[in-house]
Symmetry: C2
Subunit: 192 residues, 2 copies
């Protein structure tokens, strides 16, 4: 059977870096890997409990506060995680709502489609700016560069940069194509 429950492995991965509470894990996901991975509390806490039962994680001693529930990964947990790492990543069946909508674009007014593509482009421009800033701070940090993990943290970031760039170009190209091949009501506006 195919491996599901990727939350399990995401949590094990984060705990490989440092002991964390559920809250910490969520914060880490939101801050550091949010451009390619997301988690939510409703899933983290139950999985944390399950991982503890499987002895892949255990309560950590160094709790900052009595209320905090800090976990650390066990040797078994590390083994489990690395084993998963080496499996080929599952090819997920694609479901792009944008592409689906776009392919039926001739059912709505051309201005709508163009506006939609404009929003997509803007979002990608914002993302790109953010990625570029991150990349800059990475590349000028000599300590980070010496970390053996450096190229592995750089890779998803570079992917974000390259795909953002290509998405922007695609938006522009697509607007042009739409105007050229399906002029409809836009042409008239040009004379106003």
């Amino acid at each position: 059977m195919a491996i599901k429950n990727k939350t399990k492995y995401a949590i094990l991965g984060v705990l490989c870096l440092k002991p964390c509470s559920g809250y910490d894990i969520k914060k880490f996901c939101d801050k550091t890997i949010s451009h390619y991975w997301s988690e939510n509390f409703g899933h983290i806490y139950p999985v944390l409990k399950q991982l503890q039962e499987e002895h892949f994680i255990q309560p950590s001693e160094d709790k900052a506060s009595a209320k905090r529930n800090v976990f650390q990964i066990t040797d078994e947990g590390k083994r489990e995680f690395v084993e998963w790492l080496m499996l080929p990543p599952e090819i997920q069946s694609p479901r792009s709502e944008l592409m689906l909508k776009l392919s039926f674009g001739n059912y709505i007014a051309i201005e709508h489609v163009i506006a939609m593509l404009g929003e997509v482009k803007d979002r990608n421009i914002r993302n790109l700016a953010y990625y570029r800033e991150l990349e800059g701070s990475y590349l000028t940090n000599d300590a980070a560069k010496k970390d053996p993990a450096f190229p592995y943290w750089l890779a998803p970031l570079r992917h974000g940069i390259l795909t953002s760039e290509v998405n922007i170009r695609w938006c522009e190209e697509t607007v042009q194509n739409i105007k050229q091949y399906a002029p409809s009501n836009l042409e008239e506006d040009a004379y106003v």
Copy 2:
């Protein structure tokens, strides 16, 4: 509440093109839009029933076989579909297993990571070849070009082409970065 059940709208979209049975819809998804949308029987048939109850679709007269259950979209169904089309596409929370695994690449042997990226690259090369072929047959078909839907069918295809290309480049770049910044055991092999 956010709109879920996108299968509903995918089905309405396909039925806008022509009356279909559940089987036809599945076939259409697999053959025509599989690079950005997927459906499966276990979801299609129940949703088909639900759509009928909502009067968005109705049984079609022209059944080829007694066994086939062909549906056509109603005016209400068309309205429902177009209304959805005009809503901004939901931004889906990203979950790239490849990126997650890659960001922990320093936990496994470098050869493993390089092999993994090689497979990803190969898959993208295969996809690109397929997309390019499709694009060629599109661009040389004058009848298709005159269809007002032409740029809307072209757009997802172009997106596939551009992202495949960029993925290939990213794989190559990433392998280089890994070799440069995390040489480890590969260097030795170079002398063998």
